[in-house]
């Protein structure tokens, strides 16, 4: 594979991981803050946090799947 191809794949993976990390980070911050305000709701908050994290991670993994195809 050409050199620019490698560069493109590396940049792609980096950008995808930045997006996923930022999204899940904001989500975790909101969940922790709400859990701090109202500790008895922490069970429900945990469930919703995990679901949202899995959906955001799913979006990041779509991009990675397409990168896998680009790799030939």
């Amino acid at each position: 594979m050409e050199g620019m191809g490698f560069l493109g794949i590396g940049l792609g993976i980096g950008l995808i991981i930045i997006g996923a990390g930022l999204g899940i980070g904001k989500l975790a911050a909101a969940a922790l803050e709400a859990s701090g305000r109202q500790p008895e709701a922490s069970g429900k908050l945990q469930t919703m946090m995990i679901i949202a994290a899995a959906l955001i991670e799913g979006a990041a993994l779509f991009g990675l799947v397409i990168l896998n195809g680009l790799n030939g």
Binding site: I50, I51, A54, L55, E57, G58, L61, F62, L64, V65
Partner: protein, 343 residues
């Protein structure tokens, strides 16, 4: 995920044996080895050792069944050429001279390949496990109809009530439809969960790590969503949902968008499940490779590898839960609540 995986990765003679790779770069061979190990095989492999060959079933001017790849090659009709089955003539692959492929050859392949491969065999294993679990729970209910559940029956009841009360009932407002659809959701949840977990046992392969199998599961979700929506609302109600209640000229745009959404939502379900499963296994294999390549300096990686392995257990359950829940949500969106006043 086992000892012989490690042997497989460090066994240099095995690495050099693939006939597809003309370059001799070791790192590239290891990457190809990982990807092909995670893929499909035509023989039943456990712990990466071939146990026996699986039947090859082809539909090509009639149904042809062979008991294995070597049986197929011995019959002279087909050859196993570069990981593909091609028609053979007098011991040589039959070439079509119409188009050229990437390597300059275009071979004639059979019309339909229905053979039982490794992934299909593991799917059947997980189906057998499900039948066993559910029939034991049912027998326990029959034997003790009025007493509290114990043992396996208790465990199954936890999961079944979880699916029914957290996934099906909140999302499908019509109670009669929810009751008749609960078996489908329980089946999908257990099937995906057991398939994901089988890949984590030593020697197992994950069927959901293949896009074809997850697309099949998403197709069942697609059919269920459309069929039950039409059955509940009628064909007219279904079409009016596609128009989404906007005034005339925007209607056409909404039809296009909603129609695309109808196809894309199950496809996205399939890709999410496939990507989560295969990505997790690739990360785990990479850590194992790092442990082996690092030698003594690779010891911290074993802790990371253990952490990723436990995370895979959690991801197996979460992905099964999300697939089922999203199917229930997509179905519930298209239905009207039976307690709603007017619409």
């Amino acid at each position: 995920m086992s000892k012989s995986e490690l042997e497989h990765l460090t066994d240099e003679s095995h690495v050099g044996q693939s006939d597809d790779h003309t370059e001799g770069h070791q790192s590239e061979n290891i990457v190809q080895q990982i990807i092909s190990d995670l893929g499909d095989h035509r023989d039943f492999t456990v712990f990466n050792k071939k146990l026996f060959e699986l039947p090859v079933i082809l539909v090509d001017d009639g149904l042809k069944i062979y008991s294995g790849v070597s049986d197929m090659e011995a019959s002279g009709e087909y050859l196993y050429h570069h990981h593909k089955i091609v028609k053979a003539e007098n011991g040589e692959p039959l070439e079509l001279h119409h188009e050229t492929d990437a390597d300059g050859h275009h071979y004639a392949t059979p019309a339909l390949d229905l053979s039982i491969t490794n992934f299909v065999a593991f799917q059947m294993i997980s189906a057998i496990i499900m039948i066993f679990l559910f029939s034991r729970a049912r027998a326990a209910y029959k034997k003790r109809p009025t007493k509290a559940p114990r043992g396996l029956q208790n465990l199954m009841e936890v999961f079944i009530l979880f699916v029914r009360d957290e996934i099906v009932r909140p999302n499908i407002p019509v109670r009669k439809l929810a009751n008749s659809l609960t078996p489908y959701f329980i089946t999908i949840f257990f099937f995906i969960y057991i398939m994901n977990m089988i890949g984590l046992l030593p020697g197992g392969h994950t069927p959901t790590g293949s896009l074809s199998i997850t697309l099949g599961l998403a197709m069942t979700a697609f059919i269920v969503i459309i069929f039950y929506q039409i059955k509940q609302e009628g064909l007219g109600g279904f079409i009016s949902h596609l128009f989404a209640g906007a005034p005339f000229p925007v209607n056409i745009l909404m039809l296009v968008i909603e129609g695309a959404g109808l196809l894309i939502k199950p496809a996205v379900l399939a890709i999410r499940l496939f990507a989560n499963m295969s990505a997790g296994h690739v990360v785990l294999f990479s850590f194992i490779g790092l442990i082996l390549a690092g030698g003594a300096a690779g010891t911290p990686f074993s802790i990371m590898a253990l952490f990723v392995y436990v995370l895979e257990l959690l991801v197996a359950f979460i992905q099964a839960y999300i697939f089922t829940m999203l199917t229930a949500i997509f179905l519930g969106i298209g239905l009207h609540d039976e307690n709603e006043l007017a619409h």
